[in-house]
Symmetry: C2
Subunit: 266 residues, 2 copies
């Protein structure tokens, strides 16, 4: 399936469930929609915390719902599930948010680690959840974000277990995907990030662990949802974790762009 076909099937209601493994060559994105009065602060929060919150494209104009990164797409209908937040509380989980949209809202698309799961698989390092067709486990940490105006919160991470000898290779494969959180932020003891219970993630499915597994953690685009809660943003719309927006951007392109930038100083 192409990215456009995935979006069309979601819009028509013929496709449900997380978007992992769908249109695997394309960049997937987290959606965050906030009132115009919070847009400058959210742009700042993303700029100050680019590992959990890398922007896939510049924030849309107020009221706009057609992103630049996907043709003929509509952010109000082309994600499988949405979350609606009022004063930092989750109040609704609709399949379509057209009735809630207005010129007072600004949409942000933030990178997602699903973008590199396919690359990991092609390198012979398929993430466990990917191989088992489960949703990736995601955790709220106690690592504070650099705050921005009224917005503050803690970093959320996704976790993929690997064997010790695989970690350097996993880091190398994911490093170029900077728009998709890049290389891991940490691995080993979950306590270093303030994660108490690895078996009970706050988002996604519980992990399936084997003897000798080392948990490896990446920044996660669900982070803004923890910010919406911590900062009691009066109104916000996000995607449901795992149910991403599929763009027309090839992840190979993003990785290539990064390689040319990273090579510059040498």
């Amino acid at each position: 399936m192409t990215a456009a076909e995935v979006r069309a099937a979601i819009r028509d209601g013929t496709l449900a469930g997380p978007t992992e493994r769908l249109a695997p060559d394309y960049v997937q994105a987290n959606l965050v929609v906030v009132p115009r009065a919070y847009a400058g602060e959210l742009a700042d929060l993303c700029a100050r915390n680019p590992v959990p919150c890398p922007l896939v494209e510049a924030p849309l104009a107020p009221g706009a719902h057609a992103p630049r990164s996907a043709e003929c797409a509509d952010l109000r209908t082309d994600l499988g599930r949405y979350r609606v937040w009022r004063d930092g509380e989750l109040t609704e989980q609709p399949r379509d948010v057209r009735a809630l949209w207005s010129d007072e809202l600004v949409a942000f698309l933030i990178g997602c680690s699903f973008t590199f799961d396919h690359a990991l698989s092609e390198a012979g390092l398929a993430p466990r959840h990917y191989a088992l067709d489960r949703n990736v486990p995601m955790y709220r940490t106690r690592v504070p974000l650099a705050s921005a105006g009224r917005l503050r919160g803690m970093m959320v991470v996704s976790m993929r277990p690997y064997k010790e000898h695989e970690i350097e290779r996993v880091r190398e494969v994911t490093r170029p995907f900077r728009v998709a959180h890049g290389e891991p932020v940490a691995w080993g003891d979950p306590a270093q990030l303030g994660i108490d219970d690895l078996m009970h993630p706050e988002y996604g499915d519980a992990p399936v662990l084997e003897d000798g597994d080392v948990p490896v953690f990446w920044g996660c685009g669900v982070t803004p949802q923890s910010v919406i809660v911590a900062s009691r943003v009066p109104f916000a719309i996000t995607h449901e974790p795992g149910h991403m927006f599929v763009t027309d951007r090839l992840h190979d392109e993003c990785a290539r762009n990064h390689r040319s930038v990273a090579a510059a100083p040498s």
Copy 2:
């Protein structure tokens, strides 16, 4: 004194001591020099951790010591004190590093919060250390950086005490100075950053505290020095904390650029 005059006086040896309060309209910078083989990773570390490590300009070409941000300047002679690191250990503190320079080295200039201390003073919020002509206290935290290849470490922060009712205004004044770490990362309990003893900073002078003070913490460009130690970089040159490189860039310009970017989405 202009920035060029400060650099000339330091080069000639007629001026010593920290550069705080000198040429107060100009952006000051932290120096980090690493082997060419680490330059890509350091560029990546800065991009992934822009609050403690904002780049004042792109990394210099290998071997170059004339930065773009200052005319007729020489990074080997124009800082008051240097630190030389071998395998992550501080080995020398020379006044000049010409004899150590080679085509195998790449220099980075990273923003410094001294840049906004003058703006805080002009807003009637002079930082305590600034008013008392002391060096700012700086602390190693337990907030992990997003690692980059072989480079990892913990964030270093600078601290300025303020009264509770001043904090929002302090945040506003420093927010636009993104190239100088921008607004605070945290305030209140030092334990939230893993700082055990506020009276014993790892760098700079001990703070002078009054009743009712709330410690306010900013990202600090000394962070790469903690990375050099934690990552055992085989060779590195940095400035001595507080003894910064004074650029010809006006901090007003940097703040203005930021304001126009932040205003974009609304």
